[in-house]
Amino acid sequence: MVNIPSSIDDTIPAAEVEDVELYHSHSWWTTYVFSQDAKVIAIQYSLTAISIGLVALVLSWLMRLQLAFPGYFAFIDAEHYYQFITMHGMIMVIYLLTALFLGGFGNYLIPLMLGARDMVFPYANMLSYWLYLLAVLVLVAGFFAPGGPTGAGWTLYPPQAVLSGTPGGNDWGIILMLTSLILFIIGFTMGGLNYVVTVLQGRARGMTLMRMPLTIWGIFTATVMALLAFPALFVASVMMLFDRILGTSFFMPAIVEMGEQLKHGGGSPILFQHLFWFFGHPEVYIVALPAFGIVSDLISTHARKNIFGYRMMVWAIVVIGALSFVVWAHHMYVSGMNPKFGFFFATTTLIIAVPTAIKVYNWVLTLWRGDIHLTIPMLFALGFIVTFVNGGLTGLFLGNVVVDVPLSDTMFVVAHFHMVMGVAPIMVIFGAIYHWYPKITGRMLDETMGRIHFWVTFLGAYLIFFPMHYLGLLGAPRRYYELGETVVNPTSAHDLNIFITLMAWTVGAAQILFLFNAAWSLRRGKESGGNPWRATTLEWQTPTTPPPHGNWGKDLPVVYRWAYDYSVPGAPEDFIPQNQPDPERRSKEHST
């Protein structure tokens, strides 16, 4: 007897897990505040991250003021300058980028894109947000503590981080910083376990790993990396906290401070650097991989073309994730570690360029002869590719020991990492917000304001950071409160600093336009409907927009195809949603 499937659903496996029973909120508080709905948690994460990010933006303005007009503003003294640098870096890298990509986009997109009702552990997910908020509050408390926040630089290198010469070093600053990091890591672990288990074990019928949108691959790999990298920062924070509070000597060598021999002795400052960068380098890719994934989906959707080399894109993400754990000491070429390490770490660093280049080529080849719609998400995606290539190329300079040593601690490094890790991911974040805002609110963001926002941000970022490369090559050091009339700095460098500062203020001001747009469009934006971009992925196929708690109404979606069926020849539309059965296959199977 021939086994003829009676319906199309028979060609995909039966449901293995019974439908989840969700926690039903019964009051305003449990719906909007102590919510267990991943989408609400995502918005809470995003708003908190953006708010604290604005603080960091203002800090960068203040730093630029000092660099352009040294000594002109009395309230920016050397101590404050270092505090601004430290808080700006720490907030941007951890409390904004990590939290927004994983806590924000991860929470919103993972269940929706995978056809799940929610994260697998909604309660732990909620706790994750509240611990994150607590971490942010402890961090902000540093501004109001006696002595102010720590000014040790975002890398918090000992021994200076806990000495009295550093702002907050023998005050509350460093204690609050480390406590905040520890809280963040505990909170992140709760969320991270959720994301990983949801991706591995909570997908819809038919959603195989190789049908997942690249956004999910990026977020998933980044979360796995975060779960393995944050422990190193956790341990380093705990140990430094003991050095500061109990007077232990994990990282503190014998040291004389203000003519006085301290009680510390025998510790290893380099140990901290190893622990920190074992976290710190994966952290770069924890931010970059979600950006890679999201930008792949933006390009494919807005160029109406399937992503080029999907499998290679997936493997590139995984390989980058794995390699990023064996490159950390390229941040430490000048630290005094064994020079032989430099050779090993330079090699591994340059190998990462291979999978990264595969990704860039595949993005470009996706655009090749695509039906490119220059929508705002697409503009930001293109901006990302250009910026990422730029920042990546200077990365090749800095990955080589002999080139890195003279460039180390110059503005060149600042320009490099702001291009590759600052501007590039921020481009993706903006692109993603313009892309998914209609799903979150049901309305489009305003187009005109969006275009102004893009062009000012994109061109402005280049006007800020391109000159900075030049300053670095001239030898202008980073983290100096005041450059003064030093030999290495011609007067042109000083004018350049004023120019950069003006641009920084302009780009910052453009973000106010973006915030206004986001608030204005909430009520007045054009109604978007459920699928304004005519995209294939599952989050656009929800029965209602914005999706309700539980996402899918009565029946969970069933997935029949990969996420990139754009412009399929012979199809009635130029996109086929992932949950749409294949009529041809159906007739073929029925005829057998």
Partner: protein
């Protein structure tokens, strides 16, 4: 904690042969690890992450021990007890290790009886495991007290490198905290087993989800992990 039901009604689709079949099995829809519940998957991944925490602690300790210019105190002498006028090296640690390893045995039996729905034996064995855990922490407290009275502090000790005290209190303290958390969870879940929450499908206070007997095994995973970590601490800290 999770929806661990196997409701497969049909045979799965045939897999391609060879490596491709292997790959598509791993990448298949809905679940990567078939018949692994969400809770168990979460615990395994958490333990992987926690391994990195303890790994970093132990590596930091080894670095400190190797790079400090001052001599390291001899563990066999420091951790010796005077019994009947004779110094017996590492005797307390040996007993502690024995107790903790035994608790793994009772835990494994509790898991077994849990799946047999034998509420009474499960609860008793879990409480016994918790008791072993409390004994372990108690002996650790005794050891800490003894060392503190002998003048060991996180920042100094009478015998040598200051990092000895720092790493000792930090690592054993962190491990002891893990044991204590485990004891608390064991007691809570033993109470639920005893009450029959997993038979009546009573909903959790916080999560409002139905519990399953599998939570006994998940707690067991954590407990065995904490034991395993102790073996490494024992080897690297006390025997080195």
């Amino acid at each position: 904690m999770s929806q661990v039901t196997q409701t497969e009604t049909k045979a799965p689709l045939p897999l391609p042969e060879g490596v491709r079949g292997f790959a598509s099995d791993w990448a298949s829809d809905q679940r990567t690890f078939k018949n692994v519940s969400w809770g168990k998957a979460m615990m395994w991944i958490f333990l992987l992450s926690d391994t990195f925490v303890f790994g970093c602690f132990l590596l930091a300790y080894m670095t400190a021990r190797m790079s400090t210019p001052v001599a390291w105190p001899n563990p066999s002498e420091v951790f010796a007890l005077n019994i009947g006028g004779q110094e017996v090296p590492l005797i307390l640690i040996a007993i502690m290790t024995f107790v903790l390893i035994s608790s793994s045995g009772t835990m494994a039996m509790a898991v077994n009886y849990g799946y047999r729905r034998d509420r009474r034996k499960t609860a008793i064995l879990m409480l016994l495991t918790a008791l072993f855990g409390v004994m372990f922490v108690g002996m650790q407290a005794f050891e800490w007290t003894k060392l503190i009275t002998e003048g060991v502090r996180p920042w100094e000790n009478p015998w040598g490198a200051a990092q000895f005290g720092s790493t000792f209190f930090m690592i054993t303290g962190f491990h002891g905290t893990h044991v204590t958390i485990g004891v608390i969870f064991l007691v809570i879940i033993a109470r639920k087993v005893w009450r029959g929450d997993f038979d009546t499908e009573k909903r959790g206070f916080f999560t409002s989800r139905k519990g399953h007997y599998e939570i006994v095994e998940i707690t067991g995973l954590y407990w065995h992990f904490v034991d395993l970590v102790w073996v490494f601490i024992f080897a690297f800290f006390y025997l080195w």
